[in-house]
Amino acid sequence: MVKFTKEMKDALRVPGKGGSLIYLCTSSRGGNPNIAAMRFVATHMDDKILIADMFLLKTKANIKENPNVAVTICHPLDEGRWWVFRGKAVDIEYGFPRDFDWYGANATDILNEWGNWNKAEPPDEVPPDIVFPKAVQRGVVVVHVEEVYSIEPGHVGEKIL
């Protein structure tokens, strides 16, 4: 069973709070991979990664047909954040049954705390030529992490958790 370290929890936050820009990697059921950068990230319990569903397209379609995902740090990498978190994801959208449970994470709790993420943690650190004009959140992706491996040069593929 995975239990995030303090360093992992510190890294899996929005960049403006000392966290990271992350890559969320998904795949179609038939093995067509997809990789997209995400800014709104947090941890929940000791083994869940939360990501805002704001502009998800292929990522969302992939998760709906195949829950297997990988999350890794895109930036900054030079602070020892050489991790790949692999697990199962669901996109808890508005309209989900309020008692929906994903490996111990409750839909009501998730949406109450993270359902208006742009207001809670506005992207103040994002430069004006990149920041999105209007963020419309449709849900929260919850990744139940089952393993963590390293991509640190010299230790790639080694299981960490």
Partner: protein, 159 residues
């Protein structure tokens, strides 16, 4: 059809390297870093891989050659593109020799393999209304102009 990359996109790929994503035929994704990347003329990108990096993705690519990658570090947001194509692991040959030598000289990467990706798709991943916009159908001059209207910054190469 060859996927055209602008000079700015090439510069970001080669300066920052990339996060490379592959998936098993059953859809289980894996990721490694392509710390040294070289954009080649014919719509191909070559990544130098250490033995342990090749060990993670090589067996997957042997069963399913589809590869997706995004630019590492600040490139994830400042060069918001996703690249897709077909990958092949090279262990010998002219491309292998050239990329391995350059990776060692430029970035000190002790490469044992080269991942050569023949690009087939290019997407914008900038958050907002253009997220997911497919760009590989644009003629080169149109893509150049499209990008110039949005970004102009080009990074320095990292050691």
């Amino acid at each position: 059809m060859t996927v055209y990359l602008t000079e700015r996109i090439k510069a970001w790929i080669e300066a920052m390297g990339c996060h490379i994503c592959v998936a098993t035929p059953e859809g289980v994704p894996s990721v490694v870093l392509g710390r040294y990347a070289e954009v080649r003329d014919s719509g191909e990108v070559a990544f130098a891989l250490a033995e342990d990096e090749a060990a993670v993705i090589g067996p997957v690519i042997a069963k399913n050659p589809r590869v997706a990658f995004g630019i590492s570090r600040q490139g994830g947001i400042r060069a918001a593109y996703q690249f897709k194509g077909a990958g092949e692991i090279l262990r010998s040959g002219d491309i292998f020799n050239a990329v391995v030598a350059q990776a060692r000289e430029e970035k000190g990467v002790d490469a044992a393999a080269v991942l050569l990706v023949r690009l087939t798709e290019l997407y914008c991943t900038k958050p907002g209304y253009e997220a997911g916009l497919r760009l590989d159908g644009m003629p080169p001059e149109e893509l150049d102009a499209w990008e110039r209207q949005r970004w102009k910054d080009v990074p320095r190469k990292r050691n």
